[in-house]
Symmetry: C2
Subunit: 336 residues, 2 copies
DNA sequence: ATGAAAGCGCTAACAT
DNA sequence: ATGTTAGCGCTTTCAT
């Protein structure tokens, strides 16, 4: 592949002149510019960005490290990140951690070596002090969806607690008094916030606080397995609150396998909506997060940091959520 | 951020010695190694990969350029690519073209400038001679899912024609004789192959070849709009073949809005299954592609090329498909 | 309006 | 076992 010297030689100029043409910077006479341009065409010259990056210490690349791109929620976030990055001349590298701190750490070092300009991180675990690595390297980063140790970092997340609280209150209004919650790992702050929001609603209603809370993973198996357990418990809950979309799917599968109808036999509500693009007939009553917006806002914040235009001090952006009532939940029979 | 010189100075050695320690290459005494390692720790030194890449002309980065990561099919492909790349020490940059040749071309140049080692490309249009750019730059690439002009390139795709043919034959066996096909753009070879497979089955059955084929986009609107059209046509088709998942969703929504039941009033079959992870109760009779496998195989092929271990000459990998019969299709009333 | 030199961080090739 | 030199492709700085 040709380099800037080859182009310069062919055009009969110095490399720096070619550089000026490429970057539209400095004075170049029209005649010279044309000679250079035709040399570029002739050689199909593509400038090597590694050189300038090595000098300028900017790669115009952002790293997006998340749990699993296969989850439609994260896919949508990723698309928001990608679009916003592109609009600003940045590109992104993606890494899936599958919630593993080891994978996360591998990715972070690799991406640091690649000299990405900044990180968008969905932390695999709030226990891992992943922020240390950034702070030591002085690389800007924004935390998405969750919290980590310390409080001196930029973050964007949904109002998990408020959303869970609202959704629970909605169930309570329908007359449900025994609600089972199935959620993710204890070291996931989003899982904790959603349980906290649930408990808050329960307490404010003056109800027995001894509700069933099942801690597992944010996946289908957790939803499936705990639902079977829940169905055996007495007295049986009249509603299940799945704190993410995959859990909700698992819950529904378990209920279906047991021959139970939703909402006639039991109500189900969930966190995270499924994108309209892949849903024929939306069914779940949900707390819907603004996934695309989350990616967009986080990226905007990160880029603002990079160009030193962000407000001073750590920013904490809490996105509002929507409650969407659909057919998976109904008034409890016999309730007022 | 510290560089290799800072580490060397602190450890009292030459930069090259630090390099040897980092890369576990060449002779370094245990004493020196330890001194270097503690210097690395003390400075939290992370090697800058740009230097070596500039020298070696390898970035260990692959580019994945596809239509839209938001489509679960592509998400799954992407995950296959990502996992396989990682296993081999590579990482990936993703770009969404939204089927726009301009976006595609922007991405390609940008990624070329970034010196990616190879491309995995889902071409936005078979008319665009996107391969030229690679061939001129001599960058290895593998084409996924579709065909482009020329025949001297590596590719991995599903047996679209065979799959569509099989699926159509299945419908014919159920007694359907009027089948409407809704498909993507004419310049998309997968769309063409699926229609070709359909026509093949029709011809082999000795049926009227004057079937309804609707060319549109691989999205929900196309499915929705053409379904409304189809429902007005007389004689009305008894089955609809949606040639991708988004179209299928659009078809179902249109049918639902018209108060039609599937499969009682009309049968629906589709290309592309929805991932089990996001489906409560699989409903569509489909041609299921091995999406993860497609990403994996393509990446393996690309990496083999990079290390010069691929077979000589262009490779064309055609992945088998599965027909999965579910509840969206049924025997035509009155058929034998 | 154009060019020469130097250096970004690293390592292959060649000493010692 | 350790070090010196040179150069990957580009652009900033300082001439001319």
């Amino acid at each position: 592949m040709p380099n800037i010297h080859d182009v310069a030689k062919l055009a009969g100029v110095a490399p720096i002149t070619v550089s000026r043409v490429i970057n539209n910077k400095g004075y170049v006479s029209d005649k010279t510019r044309q000679r250079v341009e035709s040399a570029i065409d002739e050689l199909a010259y593509v400038p090597n960005a590694l050189g300038p990056s090595l000098r300028s210490k900017r790669t115009m690349t952002l790293a997006l490290v998340l749990s699993d791109i296969t989850n439609p929620f994260w896919t949508t976030v990723a698309r928001g990140v990608e679009d916003t990055a592109n609009e600003n001349g940045y590109h992104i590298i993606i890494g899936n951690t599958d919630e593993s701190p080891e994978k996360q750490s591998d990715y972070l070092t690799f991406m640091l070596q690649k000299q990405v300009d900044g990180f968008l991180l969905v932390p695999a675990s709030s226990n891992v002090t992943s922020s240390d690595i950034f702070q030591r390297q002085r690389v800007p980063f924004v935390v998405l969806d969750r919290e980590i140790q310390g409080n001196d970092y930029d973050s964007v997340r949904s109002d998990s607690q408020g959303g869970a609280c609202k959704l629970t209150k909605y169930l309570l209004e329908l007359g449900h008094k025994r609600i089972a919650v199935i959620t993710g790992r204890q070291d996931n702050s989003a899982a904790r916030d959603r349980v906290r929001g649930f408990m808050q609603a329960i307490e404010e209603a003056g109800l027995d606080e001894d509700q069933q809370v099942y801690w597992g993973e944010f996946n289908q198996e957790t939803g499936y397995d705990f639902t079977r357990l829940i169905l055996q418990s007495r007295p049986q809950p009249t509603a299940i609150f799945a704190t993410n979309n995959f859990i909700a799917i698992g819950v529904m599968r378990a209920l279906r396998d047991q021959g139970l109808r939703v909402p006639e036999d039991i109500s189900v509500v969930a966190f995270d909506d499924l994108p309209a693009a892949i849903t024929i007939d939306p069914f779940f009553t949900v707390v819907s997060q603004h996934a695309y917006e989350m990616g967009k806002r986080a990226t905007e914040l990160l880029i603002a940091r990079l160009v030193d235009e962000a407000p001073e001090g750590p920013q904490e952006i809490i996105l509002p959520i929507d409650i969407i009532v659909r057919r998976s939940s109904s008034r409890l029979l016999g309730a007022p």
